[in-house]
Symmetry: C2
Subunit: 417 residues, 2 copies
């Protein structure tokens, strides 16, 4: 193993190294009675890597995303476990603003390829979190995991109207990199891919920006590319009871190895933004069930006013229509199912037909997709007025294991160990 | 025209509105003896829109890019001119942190589509600049511009090794949006596309991040996705004599309407980053002719040490090889040709073959591409050791007219007026 070089140490960006070490020590000595509420004090600071849960789930959502899904190409279980261990060590460094390894010049072997690709040299941690998940396809015969597949990792049903592209769906393993600087997020994914050369292959990858849901009450609610606030009633890190009930998997759910983990659903949702942009404000607001400027439920004044689905206007009609998005997605319409959404806007250039290829890369965490994402999405797919303007083109479902406890632990130990 | 709403005014983000108005007034009353050196004091502040030159050229490079090339689909010259006027008015607002128009709720007509798409409501100006350019294809028979085509807008030659994709090359009109927040850059391009509906069609579009070249001595030199500092010897806004000689077109160059403008070349350069990442540090450094950590020319110590192409090491060989990138691209190897580079890194997901689709979206401004980009790129295309790891897949060449002087002026007036 070549020397591990701190970007901060090398480039004199200050004394944050001490704080980083401190955070790691605190985390690894904590008993985790409560989820650690990790707040980076500025957008350049690190979040703790070690903890009961993985970072990047309740962590206040950072502004940029690089998401990757890998196919495992090795058939060797030991090699896969070794890769997970190498990845964990790299992730522990990367999230603290260090390189994946030496970039080669200091203590390295100049005749060998560098252990870090270098494009984040001099950049701070930028709030980077790396969150791993295991797809259903990993639980086949290759690695002897068939009997470890959680019931909650059941294949998603086919939803009405979806037009999924297999090449950008699924995957054996995913990693979600979130950071305030896209160069830092890209650097992390690229180095994990480099470390995995010959063992995994990039299946698909997605960049995003402008988090579309806040995951903490300390954050303002951002806007999606339809111009509406997104995530007003999102599950948030301050909702301790709901997080326990609806976010974190428990040993009682039937898969011990997932205790403290969570299930992630991804959906790439292409928006017909040119069509949307020619729709009247009244129609846009009726489709969402909220006003566009403030984000208040129709018939109310402020963003966080409780939604009243029974309230009627002067015309005797409900302010919020039967097919309004907010009505159909609301927990009261779905057996009190909540989701912790953590999506990002995307623009992937244009589509060759004069339109921007843009939309929402939806990410949601939950305790059991069968009781949460699936009923909510089935409700939306059947009735949502928004469906005229959106199209689901990719889908992913991943079991995100619990957090890495300390430097002796690794991503997936509870599954493979 | 519906009411123009300031995001700052509506959402209480502070008193920056006054400063914005001030900057506009100063710019439009100035005689422009010297290029205005525009510095936004924070990454949320605006740059002036009005001036002798367009902003977004010598403006200290912002961190994010959304670039779009349009095909003009109207055949009507008056309609095109009207669009350029509408775009200019929108750009003047957008760059100052205002909406393109009302998003509909305040003084607008709720039964009409909003004049702004809304996703930047509440966001500050974020250093947004919008820079327009006219491609050679605009100077055909459609608009009576054939005799206005500048000699410097000669088609680029075919360069050895390039593999251009026509669908993501060229275009009648381009707009470069740079900002510190991608949501602000995307919002600007999307609203210009919306305003142009029925008159222009998006031909191609590109997002980028992590500016790969600094354009001011006040900026640290950023890194490209090969991990090297990029732009150490870039033409910078402080180089007044060189900017006059090599950046800005003059009336003496043969096209009066371009006086104060500049020519932009774009090249999308895909990098074989997985191959690069398996190359030794020694080879990487020899290919660039600089060391990776510091960015110093080989044989020197500091980034800004002058390059000495004659210096030899103990083995009697030049430190900087004959096919090193820095040697072939240097002004001394190209008749003293300089470029103002303003490129961005890109990752467009993956390519379906297990690789990230990543590289450099190169943008360079200059007075005459025939004397600057073309000889430099011909030199590189024939000999550069870097060619093994890169592939040019798109190309653009645009004449960027002079700046908009005041609210009575518009983008392209000197060409169409």
């Amino acid at each position: 193993m070549s020397q591990r070089v701190s970007r901060r140490g090398l480039f004199g960006l200050g004394a944050a190294g001490a704080a980083v070490v401190g955070a790691g020590v605190v985390a690894s000595n904590t008993l985790f009675e409560e989820p650690p509420v990790a707040h980076a004090s500025s957008t350049s600071d690190p979040f703790p890597f070690y903890g009961e849960h993985q970072s990047g789930i309740v962590t206040p959502a950072q502004d940029r995303l690089h998401f990757v899904a890998f196919d495992v190409i090795t058939k060797n279980r030991a090699e896969l476990v070794e890769l997970l261990q190498e990845w964990t060590a790299a992730a522990a460094r990367l999230t603290q603003g260090k390189e994946a390894g030496s970039y080669g010049a200091v203590g390295g072997a100049p005749e060998a390829p560098p252990d870090d690709t270098g494009e984040a040299l001099g950049l701070p941690a930028s709030g980077l979190t790396l969150t791993i998940g295991f797809g259903a396809s990993l639980f086949d015969e290759r690695f002897g995991l068939a009997d470890k597949r959680p019931a909650a990792l059941a294949d998603l049903p086919k939803f009405p109207g979806e037009q999924l592209i297999p090449e950008i769906s699924g995957g054996d393993i995913c990693v979600q990199a979130c950071a305030h600087d896209p160069q830092v997020a890209v650097h992390a994914i690229r180095n994990l891919a480099r470390i995995g050369f010959g063992k995994v292959s990039v299946r698909w990858s997605q960049l995003g920006f402008g988090r579309t849901s806040s995951t903490s009450r300390s954050q303002a609610t951002p806007r999606n590319l339809m111009g509406f606030k997104d995530g007003t009633n999102n599950l948030k890190l301050e909702d301790a009871d709901l997080l326990r009930d609806q976010l974190w998997a428990s040993a009682q759910d039937g898969s011990d190895w997932m205790a403290g983990g969570s299930y992630m659903v991804t959906r790439k949702i292409r928006m017909a933004i040119e069509t949307w942009d020619r729709t009247s404000l009244v129609e846009q607001e009726q489709i969402f069930g909220r006003d566009k400027g403030e984000g208040a439920p129709l018939g109310k004044k402020a963003e966080f006013d409780p939604v009243d689905f029974a309230a009627k206007g002067a015309d005797g009609q409900p302010y919020i229509k039967a097919d309004a998005h907010v009505r159909l997605a609301h927990p009261t319409a779905n057996g009190n199912a909540h989701l912790l959404r953590r999506g990002y806007n995307f623009v992937d250039g244009s589509d060759g037909l004069g339109r921007l290829d843009a939309g929402l890369f939806f990410i949601a965490y939950q305790r059991d997709p069968r009781k949460q994402f699936v009923p909510v999405q089935m409700n939306l797919a059947k009735k949502d007025a928004l469906n005229e303007y959106i199209k689901h083109v990719s889908s992913g479902l991943f079991a995100c294991p619990p957090g890495v406890r300390d430097a002796g632990d690794y991503w997936g130990r509870t599954l493979f160990g």
